[in-house]
């Protein structure tokens, strides 16, 4: 392909958009709405994950140690926990510290509290406070710990864990379905829009076939049209999402409601992700545009 042909094809693509401006406008609208929703869903899920990690940090496993373990067994246990790669952090709480902690929790004075009686027989077991890299491994780690002879019990606030991982699964599934439906809708709209241009240009396409233009050459202006629609939609979606994101951040900033403030603290700044958003949108827009257009011309290339 020479430079003249290339210029010709790009010019044709742009003029296609203009000839068919109403439908092009509709395609750009639908596609950018679709991209905004996809991008928004992804940012939301990223932020939710970020919040999860915060919660996960607080959600710890307690592994209670038998009272009669020897120092050697204690060291074995430490080494074992150290080696478990699902574990992010662990902290040893001795029997004495555990007692103080328990008394603190109940708000009693160590000197006169209900534990006074146990001064010579501390009932609170030594334990490990363990946090995980991934919250969904909780049950597995508990099982592994409880299988050890030194541990008599390990537990966690399973209900929190289950709720969070369950929520994430549902979010992912619904998000995936919505994204799929939106992508299909954009494809249909773009390909119908380009079908109209193809119809308006069917005479030219027919003549091109007769004078010996290759299918690739005939297809290109329409692919250019689709890709341009995709790129314009990508830029528009980017700007819209930026506006929405900053808008939400502003509202959260202004509000004094505690939970919003804590979410804000763990939210991701747009400046951290804008490049990925833009690249993703441009790539997605280009792909959907090109795919939608190539489907639209097939029928007219058969002569």
């Amino acid at each position: 392909m020479n430079w003249g042909s290339f210029k010709y094809l790009v010019k044709q693509g742009i003029s296609n958009i203009w000839i068919n401006r109403l439908m092009s406008f509709a395609s750009i609208g639908v596609l950018s709405a679709c991209l905004v929703l996809i991008g928004g869903a992804m940012l939301l899920s990223l932020n939710v994950r970020e919040v999860f990690y915060k919660v996960e940090g607080q959600n710890e496993i307690r592994a209670f140690i038998e009272d009669d373990v020897t120092d050697k067994e204690m060291e074995e246990l430490r080494v074992h926990i150290e080696k478990m790669d699902k574990i992010a952090t662990y902290k040893f709480i001795s029997k004495d510290d555990a007692l103080i902690e328990a008394q603190d929790m109940m708000g009693v004075d160590p000197e006169e509290g209900i534990f006074e009686d146990y001064k010579y027989g501390n009932p609170i077991p030594a334990n490990y406070i363990i946090t995980l890299k991934d919250i969904s491994d909780t049950q597995e780690v508990i099982d592994e710990l409880e299988a050890l002879p030194m541990i008599y019990k390990a537990n966690a606030l399973m209900s929190v864990v289950e709720t969070l991982t369950g929520m994430e699964k549902v979010l992912l599934m619904f998000g995936g379905i919505i994204v799929l439906v939106l992508v299909l809708a954009s494809l249909v709209v773009i390909s119908n829009s380009i079908r109209l241009t193809v119809f308006a240009r069917r005479r030219e396409i027919n003549i091109m076939k007769y004078v010996g233009a290759t299918n690739g050459f005939i297809r290109l202006p329409f692919v250019v049209e689709g890709v341009l629609v995709g790129l314009i939609a990508a830029v528009m979606a980017f700007l819209m999402l930026l506006g929405i994101y900053e808008g939400i951040n502003y509202i959260v900033d202004e509000s004094s409601v505690g939970i919003l403030a804590s979410i804000k603290a763990s939210s991701i700044a747009f400046s951290e992700v804008w490049m990925w958003v833009l690249i993703g949108f441009a790539g997605g827009g280009t792909f959907i545009g090109a795919l939608g257009s190539s489907g639209a011309i097939r029928k007219y290339l058969k002569v």
Binding site: G4, S5, M208, K209, Y210, V211
Partner: protein, 226 residues
Amino acid sequence: MIEFKGVSKVYPNGTVALNDIDLFIEKGEFVFILGHSGAGKSTLLKLMMREEKATKGTIVVGNYNLTKIKNRQIPYLRRRMGFVFQDFRLIPNLTAYDNVAFAMRVTNIPSREIRKRVPYILHLVGLSNKSRVYPEQLSGGEQQRVALARALAHNPPIIVADEPTGNIDPELSYEIMELLSEINRLGTTILVVTHEQEMVKNFHKRTIKLEDGNILFDTGKQGSTT
């Protein structure tokens, strides 16, 4: 150059348009194809450009065996030919100049060559002064000549014209035939479908007459006596 061997064409609705045709046209020949309406003339041309597939038999055009040709080779087959269609097939929103340039453009001919070649070809068909005019502002004969200019533009070794003088007054159609004859003298193979018996008589070229899908007669190769 062009060869038909036992070629039949039956359209999907059962119409037998061509029936066991044998035909050989050498490089550089000028051939008239005569025949009543519905005799199968256009079908013959459509088979050559692979707009239609033969139902039976083999067709060879230049280096291409059309029975075996792959879809992606068809554009290159068509670039070896220039077509003048019965209904012109010009693009209404392009000027005469652009209609010719368009055909060259879509076959990847460099812009520089297009800018040189188009004015020359329009001059050749006597339309230099109409190059900026749109088809609807041209007379039937002028449109016909734009179509001819388009067929000539890329200098193909074969020119196929379906009734190129159908809408033109006798004087002008004689001129067009002269022009084709001139191009033929420079070595281009030319096939012309026509109704005009007079024209055929005047030009003393090989004449093939079709009737109901059969070759009624073929005068064979003629000396150029014009």
